[in-house]
């Protein structure tokens, strides 16, 4: 029986002798259920022992200590890199498992191949290069100058707001007057509708009960209703809008508004542009309120409905 501890049997690297079971030279590190498992043949009884490693919590020293505690026959155990340089005991298993390494137990050298890790366990640490430095410098610059920039922007926006409001105030007066007149006209249209309905109702009722009878009047009423439905569909065909009362009234309002605007020579397009600009300036000011007053980051631009 060959005792592995006999010095004349010091084996050259990558060759190990034993009697009962020949351990594989390349001890493979496997991942079972997401955790790395090291199958190490212990020297005393030549049996393979599974060591479950905790990469983030264990160090090389812990592994060696566990090996020695498991098998008192292990006199010396150390971990080396593939080139043969010794790895310190304080190294975490996490950084050890990045590459292949060698495990020396009682002068027996085991090459351990570290398999590819699943993406979930990879940390976002990487070698710091120039891009990272540039990014860091940009972050610092932003942190130092951003509040002042916000205040400057706020001042500019307030100036623009003042200018816009000054431009808009004469236009607003004309628009208010036109709106009042258009509202009056469209409202008059609605009341006329009520009146016409009453006329139709009164006429048909009189004819049905006092002049003729229902047997005479019924077809008349049917065809009147049918003509109304023709009218409603024609409304859609001509205006591409549903015949619903609020929309129809708004349509009338706009018609009278534009008619009055043409008479008063009121530039509706310019007014609309100014109002849109005012709305966007007010929206930007509202977005700036968060960083300057509440010390929160700037809200992103949201698309308007």
């Amino acid at each position: 029986m060959i005792h592995p501890r006999q010095p004349q049997w010091r084996c050259p690297p990558q060759v190990v002798f034993c009697s009962t079971v020949a351990p594989s030279c390349d001890v493979v590190l496997q991942y079972k259920h997401g955790r790395p498992v090291l199958a190490v043949p212990l020297p005393s009884r030549q049996e393979s022992c599974l060591f479950f490693l905790r990469p983030m919590l264990m160090t090389v020293g812990d592994l060696i200590h566990d090996l020695q505690r498991e098998d008192p026959g292990v006199t010396s155990a150390s971990v080396h890199t593939k080139d043969g340089a010794r790895v310190a005991n304080s190294t975490s298993i996490d950084s050890l498992l990045d590459k292949d390494f060698q495990l020396l137990i009682n002068d027996a050298v085991y090459n351990i191949h570290s398999p590819e890790r699943e993406a979930s366990s990879v940390s976002s640490e990487h070698v710091v290069d120039v891009e990272d430095m540039k990014h860091m410098v940009q972050l610092l610059h932003t942190a130092l100058h951003l509040p002042d920039h916000h205040l400057l922007k706020e001042r500019q926006l307030l100036e623009r707001l003042d200018g816009l409001k000054q431009d808009l105030s004469p236009l607003e007066q004309v628009k208010a007057q036109l709106a009042r007149s258009a509202e009056f006209h469209s409202s008059r249209t609605l009341w006329t509708g009520v009146a016409l309905l009453s006329v139709q109702g009164g006429a048909l009722a009189w004819l049905t009960w006092w002049v003729y009878s229902w047997d005479v009047m019924e077809p008349v009423t049917y065809f009147l209703t049918y003509c109304t439905s023709i009218g409603v569909f024609s409304y859609y065909v001509l205006t591409k809008q549903d015949y619903v009362y609020p929309d129809a009234k708004d349509r009338q309002f706009l018609y009278y508004f534009h008619k009055g605007a043409k008479k008063e020579r009121f530039n509706v397009q310019k007014y609309n542009e100014l109002r849109e600009e005012l709305a966007s300036v007010e929206e930007d000011l509202r977005r700036l309120r968060n960083p300057t007053q509440l010390q929160l980051p700037v809200e992103q631009i949201q698309s308007q409905p």
Binding site: L196, S198, Q200, W206, L207, V211
Partner: protein, 55 residues
């Protein structure tokens, strides 16, 4: 737009104004239809037969 939906538009004296428009125009309707029927009878366009109710 939501705030517009949550406020009720109330026309002052609403029911009275509706009545002021509907009732006279209802009467106007009866006048129109009566004249129309007289016109039809005058020109012999449509004369209703006065048949009594069936027993």
């Amino acid at each position: 737009m939501v705030m517009e939906l949550l406020t009720i538009v109330q026309t002052s004296f609403g029911l009275f104004r509706i009545a002021v428009v509907v009732i006279p125009f209802l009467y106007v309707g009866t006048l129109i239809s009566n004249n129309f029927a007289v016109l039809l009878e005058e020109h012999d366009i449509f004369i209703p037969e006065d048949d009594d109710d069936d027993d």
